[in-house]
Amino acid sequence: MPKSLTPRLAALNTEVEGYAREFGLDFFETVFEVVTYDEMNMVAAYGGFPNRYPHWRWGMEYEQLAKGYEYGLSKIYELVINNDPCYAYLLESNADVDQKLVMAHVYGHCDFFKNNFSFRHTNRRMIDEMANHATRVRRWIDKIGVEKVEDFIDRTLSLENLIDQHAPHIRRNPDPKRAEDEAKANERVEGFKVGREYMRGFINPSEFLESQRKKVEDEKARAKKFPERPQRDVLYFLLEYAPLEPWEADILSILRDEAYYFAPQGQTKIMNEGWASYWHSTIMTRRALKDDEIIDYADRHSGTMGTRPGALNPYKLGIELWRDIEDRWNKGRFGKEWDECDDLRARGSWDKKLGAGREKIFEVRKHYNDITFIDTFLTAEFAMEQKLFVYGFNDKRNSWEILDREFRKVKAKLLQSLTNFGQPIIEVVDGNFENRSELLLAHKHDGQDLKGDYARETLRNLQSLWRRPVNIVTRYDGKGVMLRYDGQNHSEKKFEL
């Protein structure tokens, strides 16, 4: 069972926490627990939580982590949960220098969780919530049977990525009464109030009235549509309108909640890991390290920062970007003057001694997510320095290869891979397709085709929830296609939306 800190570790923690505060990090109270590697693997398999609902896929994660550890391939150093208080885990067998590094890193994460806007709507009592979810699912298992419940979870997981990651920031259901009033008010189109009758033609010209009427018509037509606007939160739509049993609805809502809880971590992976790494590096090298620890620290740190050609390391990319921003704002390398300067020598020695770097990065960690972070701060110089490139698959040679090092393309590809977690954007377009209560989804095609076999299997799972035939419109090789599954057969036909 997890243990609380030994006196020795507690002293280290007090020390590191002090440094973190000294540098201005602002975090929830942070609770460290000491675990064995086996427990660490378990908690990691559970996504950082001590308690999850029973499901084989945690076992699958565990198997990989445990095997990875046993064969000496991988080791989890740090695990921290976005919660108030923050919970973090220390590996029992780690040396002091590792523990300090982990603590410093964790304080970076906690600061980020608390301050970055993406996390504003996350449940800060998620530990309790997850435990509640576990209890609810267990109860359904007792009632309905493990096979059925697990099967339903499996099918729902197939749709887990169909959420609208911006949804928490949007007010979904406006006050129904107000909406009603507005609707009523819109029904009669009388134009603006006219004081003098002879002015009527000028204040409310007939074209204006016509356009207003048309607006109302459109509004009405839309109201007849179902859903009114394309709905990206497919899980929500299913929850509202699919003919689910109470237990199914309950489990669906649990999975949806959890998906939303984890979404911001996916949206800020580069920033968050970079931020934590920036701070462990700063705290360790400026304060916490003892002379005899420096080599072990360097070994660990460089291990974390390692890169491979075919995979971006978010720790590395993140820390370098943060340092670059700090440096640029320290030297005043931003703004109109800087952008317009094309004298390489002047640029090379540009230093206005602003010293605004620290301040800037604290501001950035508040208001950005990975997409806006990369979009705003990834410069051509940076991309070159970091040797970024675009890679792709060469069918002829049947291998992956470097395609391009041009900045624009690198940035575009990077942003594309971050948009919606690099997953296709899919919306519910019609919940009463062809007036036969069929479901129609649309894939917003952005140049990449869906994986066909997966799409068909996913449709099958979707159909089992919707119970009526389901359709998705996408494009293959530039042509509109509708895939359909009616509960028995798959079919496809040409279709342009």
């Binding site: 996916g266 490139f389 792709g392 992956w400 690198v410």
Partner: protein
Amino acid sequence: MSLKIHQDHSRFKAIVRGKIKANLRKYVQKGEMLGKKGKDAISIPIPFIDIPRFKYGHKEQGGVGQGDGEVGQTLGPGQVQPGDGHGQAGQGEGEHALEVDVTLDELAQILGEELQLPNIERRHNEKIVTQKIKYTGINTTGPESLRHFKRTFKQALKRQIATGTYDPAKPVIIPTREDRRYRSYKLQDLPETNAVIIYMMDVSGSMGDEQKEIVRIESFWLDTWLRHQYKGLESRYVIHDAVAREVDRETFFHTRESGGTMISSAYKLCREIIQADYPKSAWNIYPFHFSDGDNWSADDTRQCIDMLRNDILPHVNQFAYGQVESPYGSGQFIKDLREAVGDQNNVALSEIADKDAIYNSIKDFLGKGR
């Protein structure tokens, strides 16, 4: 210590094994040879549980990478990790290689569960104890061959930095005697029981490629199971037509001879092997014989049965005869055996009509738990 996750873990394993279970027949049917790599771990592609989603094909997707290299340069295998890339942090998402390593031991367990094989009752429990080296720690002394390069380097680096002899501009590290670190080991006792399989196969003209393929698959599973039961299993291979000779494994599975069949020749050789190398008192002995059952003469069959009764059966844990159906064979031999020694409880007889029948035949052979 029992962790909650173990429930999920065993559930996952059960599902994975379920897949193997369901596909076990198919494996056998397709005759996929499960190769051994390295010591005893083999990598079996297992239908990893990959939940389908709407997603892009990897090859469609590509991505951004970091590092040296010209445009057009190929990224080596294992270097590309496409896909979600920035999977949901902390949730341990991301793409997985669709392989779970199954060791031969685990495979045997799966086989045992699937076929509900009993564990073998060992006839001999005299243990030969061997010692195995296990590396457990780091020491400051030891033979040079066990020097731990990385630890030594680190030690030297630390010393040079501490004494101020480290020059970042010219980072040369020279370990001294004191810097050296060595792996240290302990000797562990490993009890061993001895077992030998003597494979005999009829390679007369009537045994075609398909028949041999069946033998090959079946012997793989037999081998796996017995290896699971006995550490330190030996195998001997005998082929015969009208005469028998001992061969290596490679030859055993790939020879094609022609000519008549005198099974007695094989049994004679088997008897000699047992007498020469495997005293009954120290060995568990398993002869397996595969043939299409078309023996040369009734006379020869009689000789075989005599030999079995008097010289072989009393010495072995179990004698197994598998008769592979062939278009040419009469299949008489198994009938003769059944009549003569079928009532002996250390005899297992099985007819293998085609690849589908391998499954049941393994059960016939191993189901007795001897």
